[in-house]
């Protein structure tokens, strides 16, 4: 008994046809490695995002705009552009939600990664999501400083030397990023979510 090998579809074939058909092809098994691309781009831009949700959006977005791909046989740079576009829109939307925090803000039912991660830590999921929304709209330098000094716990002096920045500058940027994460609308940094 022999087993026929199914060759993976080429990128050109993946992106051909109407959106629903494209979607079916690029969703199953993630042949375009969009999930990894999302992770890489988010990390490169120092963004705190729900990777699964961004991946989902990217799949649909690429399916809808597949016909716009200039070179379906070599779609890597186009895909990277699309992921960046999706990330930009994601950050803009999440940033608006983050700015609307307050007594009258609409409360969306928390779901997905926010519930899974925030709940066990005793953090309100929706509040955490809004905090990340605000964070992602900060200047790139502040986000990068936060990633380096707080999340990665790098040595500040070493990182400053490597980045060609002064220690004070770096510390201020990281501090501002922390303050943005911790601050609620109208309240100070001493009152994290």
């Amino acid at each position: 008994m022999t087993r026929e090998k199914t060759e993976p579809a080429s990128p050109g074939a993946l992106l051909a046809g109407e959106p629903r058909a494209v979607l079916a092809r690029i969703t199953t098994g993630d042949p375009l490695s969009l999930r990894a691309l999302v992770a890489d781009r988010a990390e490169e831009h120092h963004l705190l995002v729900d990777g699964d949700a961004v991946h989902l959006r990217t799949l649909a977005h690429c399916a809808r705009h597949a016909l716009d791909c200039p070179d379906p046989l070599r779609p890597a740079s186009w895909l990277a552009e699309q992921v960046d576009l999706v990330l930009d829109r994601w950050c803009a939307e999440e940033g608006r939600r983050g700015a609307e925090e307050g007594p009258g803000a609409p409360a969306e039912p928390a779901s997905g990664v926010w519930v899974e991660l925030a709940g066990p830590l005793g953090i309100e999921p929706d509040r955490a999501r809004r905090a990340c929304g605000r964070f992602n709209l900060l200047p790139d330098g502040e986000r990068a400083a936060f990633f380096a000094l707080v999340l990665d716990r790098r040595d500040a002096q070493e990182h400053a030397r490597g980045a060609g920045r002064s220690l004070v500058q770096l510390a201020r940027e990281a501090r501002r990023a922390l303050a943005a994460l911790l601050a609620r609308r109208g309240k100070g940094a001493a009152d994290p979510p």
Binding site: V38, L56, A60, A105, A171, P192
Partner: protein
Amino acid sequence: MNRRQREEGGAGTGLGRRTASARAGGRRRRDGGAQPPDLEPLDVLLPELTAAARARAGRLVNLLRLLRADTAASSSPRAAVPLDRARGELDRQEIERRARALEDLLRHHLSAHLGTESFAWHGEPEHSVQSAWRALVGGFAPEGVQTVDLPEPGESALSVARRLVSALESLGPRPGAGLWRARLEHASRGPRAGAAAFEGLLGRSAASRVPTLGVDLALLAGWCECLLDRGGVGEAFGLLGDRPEWIASDPRLGWLWTWTLLARGELAAADAARAGLDPWRGPLPTALVALRLAFPEASAVLPGRTPPDERAPLGHAPISRDRRALGASVLALFRFEGHRGARAVWLDVAPGLRADLEEWLVDRRDAHQDPGQPAHSLVIEAAPKVAHGAPGRPPAGALGERALALSLVPVLDRSGEVAGWLHVECEHHLLPCPRRLERTAQVWREELAAPETISGEGVFEQPAAALAAPGGAGLASAPEPERSLLGGVFRRLVDSVGFKTSRRRWWGIDLGSGEARAVCEGGEGLSSLPETVGGARAVERCRATGGVVRFDDADERLRLHPEAVSGLALPLAVRGRVHGVLVIESTRRRDFTDRDVERLAAGAEGFALALRLGQFRAWHVARFGSDLHVDPSLSGVRGFVEHLIAAGRSREPVVLSGDRGVGKRVLARWVHYERDGGAGPLRSVRCREPAAGEPGLGSRPADGSWLLEGLDELSPARQEELSAHIAGGGGSGAALVATSRLPLGVAAEAGRLRVGLADELARLEVLVPPLRRRREELPGLVRFLARRFAADERLGAPEFEESAIALLWRQEWEGNLRELEGLVFQLVLAAGGGILDAERVSAIARRWGHTLRSRVPSRHPSREDLVAALRSTRTRGGRTNKCRAAAFLGWDPDTLCARMAEAHLDEGELEEEPTAWDAPLS
């Protein structure tokens, strides 16, 4: 990655060297103890955190590490996305794309429909109309989504917009779902309906909460735009002024606030408000573009794009004859009659401005001859004129002191000459678009062909057919001149008591003729009376009892309006007789508290005499062709008039005694009027020498009144005859009214009158003081006579400076009113509508043989003159002004003070001083 792995800080692959230090654990302290690893950066970067806050912050940082790791876990099985979920996302994005295209198309179509006049701004479209349609028509349509067809040939922008809104709503619930529906309401039904729609969506609690949604801000902006579109600058000011936090949150609201302040004439405040705002790059409505031209110094607060084509189609706001729809305080249409001047054929004036309306209409008549008036250049150029003022400095030609802008738009006849003009006056700077006003003026062209006009100065011409008759279809309307005279009284009454009218309507009902007739109405709560009215029993009961009639629930028998559910009928009664009723009805149950009723009833009572006076004036105009000037607000006049009315209602003979020319004949007519409303004849007999054909004393008329003029000159034989008549038939036949130059007692003492007859007639003798003892009346009397004579002679009425009034005030007027009338007539002829000062008055008087004295003798002045001077020159607040009083007397202030001291005259007790009218009825 499983949950445990995530909790341990990410043991998945793909993290690389960047997470190595994170997994390495914390650094050791110098003392060898382990630092909680997650807190160390926080300690350094945020040392001010309390312990509790630091702990919370630490948990957050842990969360973010986990989130980051979760994002990076690309090869996890969890990363596989179910296909149906992906399809759901695909549909969601397609719907979102369609929504954006629909919104862009709505921006294009609503803007086209509303035109360049409107303040409405829905954001910059991302796409052109063509590309938005392509985005909508192309692509796949998710299930259940309504498709939208391209516009049909000739289909209006509004019709397309309606379809677009329906399509947008079919996409399902979205944030701001109602926002576009409200915008459509604004476009299709006008700014008033639009404002209501925005207000409804925003909710009543909006003012109390901080805006957290972009949609809330857009709703508030839409509401404000609707208010500005209809000239509701004051309302926009109130709406935004209560919400400073909202303004600070949104640039659009910031600019709307800035422009509202500018429209109110507050340039400095507008400039301060726009500080910190990014320059406005959207379009400017035409009203603001016009302001940019009128006020170059305000250009910093008026950035933005000018509409590309000035001749772009006007928006589709309906043409209105309601000043409120234009945001105007005055809307008038004048007919221009060349040398005869301009006369109003349509008037819609804010209630607070009606007090000065009569005088203003007189001024408008000849305004075209004054180079300082916009009407002058309008007639010369046959072109619209716009004038802007400043707070406290209204533009020339405006009625209201608070007017900030005025627009005159000519209506041309077939030959291109000015046949009249539209006068629009606003208490803000946002005048309606000139092209819209031109269209409005054209619509009203027909009214200019009507022969009738309105004249408000006291001489009444044919009634103005253009004014809507009060009372609607359900109540008889009073004709002119009652309608103007009595309407003014009711309006002053309503203004003085001041009540909210948004859910109420009021009617001024005149009962002078016997039947109830509406003379004016107002309020927004109910419509004009339809053909089928309520039972209106409240009016009848009020008339019968002289008391307030009230209903707190819908009462078919009592109400006037069929939709009223509560109401009041307030009597205006003099000496127990109800002459008019103020009816106020409401759409709310129990809308009037006891306190309201008390206050309104007191207010109505205070105007009863003014109403009765108005009825007499109207009767006098109709009967004798001339109006009268009586001011019951002057000291003593009110009491005198009430006594006269009481005398008139008795059946006893009334004798009016006083010098020649004091007005006895007019007062005799009033006595006659008080007897049965003046319905019967007033037969006049001259006692000295009855003219041929005049009835003698032989037969007393059977009805009406019998006026004997000059009783003190009646011959002895005729006095016998008169005594016999009085003795024999005093209770029947015509009532007797007589005038006499001498008081009866004096005439009897002098032997001019039989003592018995004098005693018999003295029961109701009314002493009418000479004009020199009634100086307080002079300023008003002079101006009234000037207007009347000017109207009679088709001349401009002169304007009297204070020095001229003072000069006339201090004369002796031995010929009383007749002498005054003569001189004023000469002044009107000579002045030709100009300004008269004391010098000019003296010169004109000299030409006609009069020598006017320059001062009241100051040696031994009468106390009465001192009191009169102080009363005549009181401020509006009732305070005396001794400088002005001295000027009226022709003295310096020190002389006045000295004479007051000598007379022990305390200006604080002026009210207690007697007046010339206080001579008692004998």
